[in-house]
């Protein structure tokens, strides 16, 4: 293993992408991922690639669509509101079977939200986000080291299955510095073979290639055929990490930065005599359902720790299918867990308490709400004035 160096998450990601053979980057400024385009603008040309600061997120993802059509390892990065804008391009990329890397360094939402790190885009990432039936592979790093090494994995998976791959990170991972090392040799994209589907200069008179997402009469067959790939990926590509799950009474489930706080909770909890374990999905799609089921086998309860208001917990419940009680320890809109805030939830899950556990119905108990129009403020027609 090479020596560890201190790197900022966003820069490790950008350098990792270039090392992984990425030679096209398009993006639009948005906090907290700005170091990615900044790094690319400084280094991509030297690597022999192209950097374009696009006029919008929409344009950026479509530039990636164009570059990916040529078989070039291409990527864009953004943060939550920007990734919302990219959904048009992502569904086209999925439909045109184009490999590429999309990075979301998540921030608090909805809307403009905040620039604090968050995990509110789990649904958007794992449920498609754009229109139609499709998936993207979603990788969730929890360290700067993984942030730097996942671009290689992402491009390899994206190309293997001809589909977009997303790295779902968050603002804290992007902004933090950490000791890390790259675990792969730099890829020389000039030495990579060509794809038989890519558009290119065609000196040898090969058959014409078209890249398109419009399938007309073939759409049903096409979507059903692609679903076989999705099924195969669900079977073969789930990735995860477990910690002390064999004997745990309470299994924590968390991805990304939240899982780091859970690592601490496992250690602290066991110091207090609580048998806590951790299951960390690394691929959010495909979700490692089977592995989760076996990790939870001996647990009395499962607690999801997520920086969102009950998104990951849905996949956990689907995977466990009622076999275990599943609770939620939630930190929405830029809130951050630490070891100390998780343990009360662990205790509640064991003893039937409520501290630290979020339940939407309990949250709304005794609450009623109705917004009413008020004619005493004037009526809507007032603006017509003299007309």
């Amino acid at each position: 293993m090479t020596e560890k160096t201190l790197r900022k998450g966003n820069e490790a990601l950008a350098e990792g992408a270039i090392r992984a053979g990425c030679r096209f980057f398009a993006g639009y400024p948005i906090t907290p991922q700005n170091e990615v385009p900044e790094y690319m603008s400084a280094n991509m040309a030297d690597a022999g690639g192209a950097f374009v600061q696009a006029e919008s997120e929409v344009a950026a993802i479509n530039m990636v669509y164009g570059a990916a059509s040529t078989g070039t390892r291409s990527m864009t990065s953004s943060s939550s509101p920007g990734v919302s804008l990219k959904q048009e391009g992502i569904t086209y990329l999925a439909s045109a079977d184009l490999p590429c890397l999309i990075v979301n360094v998540m921030r608090g939402g909805p809307g403009l939200g905040s620039i604090s790190g968050a995990q509110g885009d789990y649904f958007q990432a794992t449920r498609g986000g754009g229109n139609g039936d499709y998936h993207v592979i979603v990788l969730a790093p929890n360290s700067v080291e993984e942030l730097g090494n996942f671009p290689k994995l992402a491009f390899d998976l994206a190309e293997k299955y001809r589909m977009p791959c997303m790295i779902l990170a968050d603002g804290i991972l992007g902004q933090m510095m950490e000791s890390m090392s790259f675990n792969f040799d730099p890829v020389d994209p000039n030495q990579l073979g060509k794809f038989d589907w890519a558009v290119d200069i065609n000196k040898n008179g090969r058959k014409k290639n078209n890249v398109f997402s419009y399938k007309g009469d073939n759409l049903i067959a096409d979507v059903v055929e692609r679903a076989k790939r999705y099924g195969y990926i669900e079977k073969t590509e789930p990735r995860f990490e477990t910690r002390q799950t064999e004997d745990c009474d309470v299994l924590l489930v968390a991805y990304g930065l939240s899982s780091r706080a859970c690592m601490e909770a496992v250690v602290k909890g066991r110091e207090e005599g609580l048998k806590v374990g951790l299951f960390r999905p690394i691929t959010l799609w495909p979700f490692p359902s089977e592995a989760l089921r076996s990790a939870a086998k001996n647990a009395k309860a499962v607690v999801c720790v997520e920086q969102s208001l009950g998104q990951l917990v849905q996949d956990v419940k689907l995977a466990l299918n009622g076999a275990k009680p599943v609770y939620l320890n939630a930190y929405p809109a830029g809130g951050q867990p630490d070891g100390g805030t998780i343990l009360p939830a662990v205790k509640s899950a064991l003893n039937g308490g409520t501290e630290g556990l979020f339940d939407l119905q309990r949250h709304a108990e005794g609450f009623s709400y109705e917004c009413k129009r008020d004619a005493s403020l004037g009526v809507q027609g007032d603006w017509k004035g003299g007309k």
Binding site: K4, L6, T31, I115, Q175, M176, M263, Q336, P337, G339
Partner: protein, 178 residues
């Protein structure tokens, strides 16, 4: 050894880059380290702070909610960060700029007149490095030598004279908390 540290002060006192320096010093000492700034609009002025973790083993979350050590370089940071410190933890106070005194008795508080010491060395703006020198001695989390090694990587464009001054500040801080 697992040290969660918060360093806080005015923007311009170099608390954020001092944090990077500490994290890099951790790496120089073959430890794992993380650094996290408080980023966003507040970095445009006013009080800045950052979180650093140095660990023999793995680093958990880089967010240091309950620090082992807090270094405060200006007055407003003291009431803000003193309450967070872990029981039995350490508080290093820049007594040149902070007149108030800590109220907690369950932590160890050490006053270091960082700006006065820095001025004697010849440069007021290296006061935060004096505090880092004190931190090295009080915690043993990193050595002054590691910080000196780290400087060459973190302050890449610094002139040799400047690095020499920085080293003096570290040493003076180290000596000040004998």
């Amino acid at each position: 050894m697992y040290q969660g540290i918060r360093i806080a002060g005015f923007g311009g006192q170099g608390v954020v880059s001092a944090g990077i320096l500490l994290a890099q010093a951790g790496v120089e000492g073959k430890k794992n380290a993380s650094w996290l700034p408080s980023y966003g609009p507040e970095m445009r002025g006013g009080t800045a702070n950052c979180s650093v973790v140095i660990s023999d083993g793995e680093v958990y979350t880089p967010i240091v909610a309950v620090p082992d050590t807090v270094i405060v370089m200006n007055e407003p940071s003291l009431p803000k960060f003193e309450p967070l410190i872990k029981k039995g933890g350490l508080l290093i106070i820049n007594s040149s700029l902070i007149n108030s005194r800590p109220t907690r008795t369950d932590i160890k508080s050490v006053c270091v007149p960082c700006n006065e010491i820095a001025e004697k060395i010849g440069m007021d703006r290296i006061a935060t490095l004096v505090a880092i020198g004190a931190f090295c001695r009080l915690t043993g989390a990193v050595s002054v030598e590691s910080v000196v090694h780290a400087m060459k990587k973190v302050y890449k464009r610094a002139k040799p004279e400047m690095l020499e001054l920085n080293k003096k500040a570290l040493d003076a801080g180290f000596e000040a908390v004998k």
